[in-house]
């Protein structure tokens, strides 16, 4: 039986507190919805990676590999810097 996505929308009691803390005082369901993870889970359970990429490609962010990698690396630096800031705040 294939796994159907990995993003949880049901959580155990033990994890609820951690998710509430991560949501920063907002309802966990709202936080998950804002992250788009519930929708991502639904899509991931019904489409393959190839189908998803085809769908994105047809809509066309329209970048070359070189431009895409440049932006991806920029985003990766941003994500790591943001993570570092978040950890300092705690």
């Amino acid at each position: 039986m294939a796994k159907q996505g990995i993003i949880p929308v049901r959580v155990s009691g033990a994890d609820r507190a951690a998710l509430k803390a991560a949501a920063g005082g907002r309802p966990v369901s709202t936080w998950l919805r804002d992250l788009g993870l519930a929708e991502a889970k639904r899509l991931a359970s019904t489409k393959t990676v190839g189908e998803l990429l085809d769908s994105i490609g047809r809509a066309g962010p329209g970048m070359t590999d070189e431009e895409a990698m440049e932006l991806a690396l920029e985003g990766q630096r941003w994500a790591r810097a943001q993570l570092r800031r978040d950890r300092k705040r705690k």
């Binding site: 039986m1 294939a2 796994k3 159907q4 996505g5 990995i6 993003i7 949880p8 049901r10 959580v11 951690a18 998710l19 803390a21 991560a22 949501a23 920063g24 992250l35 788009g36 993870l37 929708e39 991502a40 889970k41 899509l43 991931a44 489409k47 393959t48 990676v49 998803l52 990429l53 085809d54 769908s55 994105i56 490609g57 809509a59 066309g60 962010p61 970048m63 070359t64 590999d65 070189e66 431009e67 895409a68 990698m69 440049e70 932006l71 991806a72 690396l73 920029e74 985003g75 990766q76 630096r77 994500a79 790591r80 810097a81 943001q82 993570l83 570092r84 978040d86 950890r87 705690k90």
Partner: protein, 191 residues
């Protein structure tokens, strides 16, 4: 089947250039090679999709959810290395965050890391027995037909950050996802 770790930047690049060479590699995950990942890589990929410039690009064509779903789908089909099995190593000079990629490869039995990070990773060629290649080289190695050949690497520099994403909320979510998937697999085995 060959086991390989794919860096976040290759996944994001694949989403932004869905018919390009990194996308060819991503499409081949689970078919031509076994993807080895860990929760930290999933979390970072989701975070990068929230980066303003990336989100704007995808949002403009209404494909934000598909991009997130691509990451989720990859993770669902990957061999996810449990967090507790990741060795604490410090081998990537200049960017300790990249240590997670090498640790994931070592713990997951992958001998290849596919990345677009030329400065910190590709320039090393190999670390602790893990071969480091770009998407084009890996696609050629797998014999993938490939997209119109465009260069898939760059000269970007990573900011150094320290340690793993242990206290990152998205990381916590990714770890929860990992637990959920395992519990589901256990239930399926029992049934």
């Amino acid at each position: 089947m060959l086991r390989a770790v794919i860096d976040t930047n290759v996944v994001i690049s694949a989403v932004l250039s869905a018919f390009g060479t990194p996308a060819e590699v991503v499409r081949a995950a689970g078919v031509e090679f076994k993807l080895v990942w860990s929760a930290g890589i999933v979390a970072e990929s989701l975070r990068v999709l929230a980066y303003e410039k990336v989100a704007r690009r995808l949002g403009a064509v209404g494909k934000t959810e598909e991009a997130r779903a691509t990451v989720a789908r990859l993770a669902a089909g990957a061999d996810m290395v449990p967090q507790e099995y990741l060795p604490r190593i410090r081998v990537v000079e200049g960017d300790p965050s990249d240590d997670l990629l090498i640790a994931t490869a070592l713990a997951g039995g992958a001998r290849v890391l596919v990345t677009g990070d030329r400065r910190h990773l590709l320039s090393r060629g190999e670390l602790l027995g893990v071969r480091i290649v770009n998407a084009a080289a890996f696609a050629a190695e797998l014999g993938l037909p490939g997209a119109p050949r465009r260069k898939g690497t760059d000269d970007s520099v990573h900011e150094p950050v320290s340690g793993y994403a242990d206290e990152d909320p998205v990381m916590e979510l990714a770890l929860e996802a990992q637990r959920w998937a395992r519990a589901k697999a256990r239930r399926a085995r029992r049934a």
